[in-house]
């Protein structure tokens, strides 16, 4: 396999003659960065313009009447009150159901479950749940909660559906937060005579709290913003009264927006924009809070990646 031919071992060409090649590479790099930055500015710009457009379209309709009235055929009287109240009911109920289930599931997976294949399978499937499109959860809600459990198109059915949808978010962020708690905390707690349950509830969970809260806020923001699953289970866009019990039919902000935006009239599009302002205000609040809490926790732990 040793060749008999004389093969010239390549020498790099004289350094000076490499300068043009290097100059070309540098120019390419600069061009790439320029294009990338221009592209980013354009996209951010587009988003900003779109958001501003919505704000401008909706502000004229954002009156106190708007916030306190039910929807109506007459745009000047229409409001988001049932939708707003419905959304709040929804988040509260969804939170009440998904937070305990999610956190306790994560506690089980990280602190109690034996490290075997079953555990990995459980984690895998919880994570796979987040790959299921939102509307499929709507179909699930329709099948199981609305029909099978005969809950009808009630807030309860809606919350149950949304709880399932946001559950993976809470479980995964809680699992990650628990994993970051240093072993020394647990050992110190046990060494002081705590039982496992006490160690978990009094040491691990408090230490993991920023990560857990951050995940919960994201989950609630998600629950607030989704419309598709609720459309499927029958949340209506025209609900004239504020719900008074969990079994009442309901509507939420996102669906109200959908309903109004489906009307070709300019006024209703404006109402939809106003409702979007309200929705975005709450969603941004939750999301920004989530990000801030998470970033501060990372910083306190000692270092941004």
């Amino acid at each position: 396999m040793e060749t008999q031919r004389i093969i010239r071992i390549p020498e790099l060409p004289d350094l000076e003659s490499l300068r043009p090649l290097v100059a070309r590479k540098r120019a390419l790099e600069r061009a790439f960065l320029a294009i990338a930055i221009v592209g980013a500015v354009i996209i951010f710009g587009i988003l900003l313009i779109l958001l501003l457009g919505v704000a401008l379209r909706g502000l004229p309709y954002l009156t106190p009447t708007f916030l306190t009235s039910p929807p109506s055929r007459f745009p000047e009287k229409a409001g988001v009150l049932p939708a707003l109240v419905g959304s709040l009911w929804l988040i509260v109920l969804t939170g009440a159901m998904s937070i305990p289930v999610g956190v306790l599931s994560a506690v089980y997976l990280e602190e109690y479950a034996p490290r075997n294949r079953i555990r990995r399978w459980l984690l895998l499937n919880i994570s796979n749940m987040s790959g299921i499109p939102a509307i499929m959860y709507g179909v699930l809600g329709l099948v199981i909660f609305v029909k099978l459990m005969a809950l009808g198109n009630s807030i309860l059915a809606g919350s149950l559906t949304m709880s399932l949808l946001v559950l993976p978010i809470i479980v995964i962020s809680t699992v990650e937060a628990i994993r970051l708690v240093p072993r020394s905390y647990r050992e110190a707690s046990l060494a002081l005579g705590a039982t496992k349950w006490q160690m978990v509830t009094r040491t691990v969970l408090p230490a993991a709290m920023p990560g857990i809260v951050s995940g919960i806020l994201l989950a609630l923001a998600r629950a607030l913003g989704e419309a598709a699953p609720l459309v499927t289970i029958g949340a209506l866009a025209y609900v004239a009264h504020v719900p008074t019990s969990v079994f009442d039919p309901f509507t939420v902000l996102s669906i109200q927006i959908f309903g109004w935006a489906s009307r070709p009239s300019s006024d209703f599009l404006g109402l939809a924009a106003a409702a979007i302002i309200v929705l975005l205000a709450i969603v941004f609040l939750l999301t920004i809070a989530s990000v801030v809490i998470r970033t501060r926790a990372i910083r306190m732990r000692g270092g941004i990646r």
Partner: protein, 300 residues
């Protein structure tokens, strides 16, 4: 942390043990519900296929359940989904990847720590807001450029979906590239490579499976998106490659059936589940593939 106590009431101990023993149920409950759901999905879809032959479902080029005679060919809905998703990916993949490259390989740490949280916040914008964008701003704009464009069209929905997905592609790809060991990148630099060369000849090949996974997950997201396409792409099932026309996606059809009053037990009623099944297989399959690809390289 003070938890020392000399004696604990047997009630407390029993209560703790009880909760601990119930913990596995919390995990199993959601999975059980999903399993029940899948069973129903398959069962109802099965009812559908008792009334509509698989042949018609797969080969019939028309889908109109309400116009007599009804036709149940899934192809138009799938075509609608694929068209809008393809447009979305055409927007999101190049832009998202380039943004990820700049963030992970070029941007100083300070810039990264500002941009990444902003991306996270942008990723939280509900899709219905994007749907409104498409309907109220993008379509009128496109009408100026393409006068023949329909009011409901795939292009508007696709573009806006693409913008929505960019943060997802960027954050997943950026994670992959940032986890390439610094030592490997430095080896390339030490051999005389520029930052750009290092990125394309070393970092991206190294992180390739993660990057591909991010594309697959983004595709799954696009396929499963509902509100944007419902509001902007229309409700006209048709097989077309023309983005200026209106189409109906799998997801939009499900919404349409949900909003309507279809009688129980009819083919129309069961069609929701058949379409749901196809959607589930497509979207979930893509996400699953994405996660599998990501894990595959990591184990190497």
């Amino acid at each position: 942390m003070g938890v020392t106590q000399t004696r604990r009431s047997p009630v407390t101990i029993a209560a703790e043990r009880l909760i601990e023993s119930l913990l596995p149920l919390f995990v199993l409950l959601p999975l059980l519900l999903i399993a029940i759901f899948l069973a129903f999905l398959f069962t109802n879809a099965f009812h559908f296929f008792q009334q509509v032959s698989l042949r018609e479902f797969l080969l019939e080029p028309n889908w109109h359940p309400l116009i007599q005679p009804p036709r149940y060919g899934i192809a138009p809905l799938v075509a609608g989904t694929l068209l809008t998703s393809a447009i979305a990916l055409l927007v999101a993949v190049p832009l998202g990847l380039i943004a990820a490259i700049v963030l992970s390989e070029f941007a100083p740490l300070r810039v990264r720590n500002v941009i990444k949280p902003i991306l996270d916040v942008l990723a939280g914008i509900p899709s219905i807001v994007y749907g409104y964008f498409a309907l109220v701003f993008v379509t009128p704009l496109l009408q100026k450029v393409f006068p023949t464009i329909e009011i409901f069209n795939a292009l508007s929905a696709g573009i806006v979906m693409g913008i929505m997905i960019i943060p997802l592609v960027t954050s997943l790809s950026e994670e992959s590239m940032a986890s390439v060991p610094t030592l490997v990148k430095e080896a390339a630099l030490a051999l005389g490579a520029t930052r750009l060369e290092t990125t394309f000849k070393v970092t991206i090949p190294y992180a390739l499976s993660g990057i591909i996974a991010s594309f697959l997950i983004a595709t799954g997201r696009a396929v499963g998106e509902t509100m944007i396409v419902t509001m902007a792409a229309g409700a006209t099932p048709r097989i077309t490659l023309n983005p200026l026309e209106g189409v109906q996606t799998l997801t939009a059809y499900i919404v349409q059936v949900s909003l309507g009053e279809t009688a129980l037990g009819t083919t129309g009623y069961y069609s929701l589940y058949a379409v749901g099944l196809v959607l589930f297989v497509l979207s979930f399959g893509l996400s699953l593939l994405g996660r599998w690809v990501a894990r595959w390289k990591r184990s190497e």
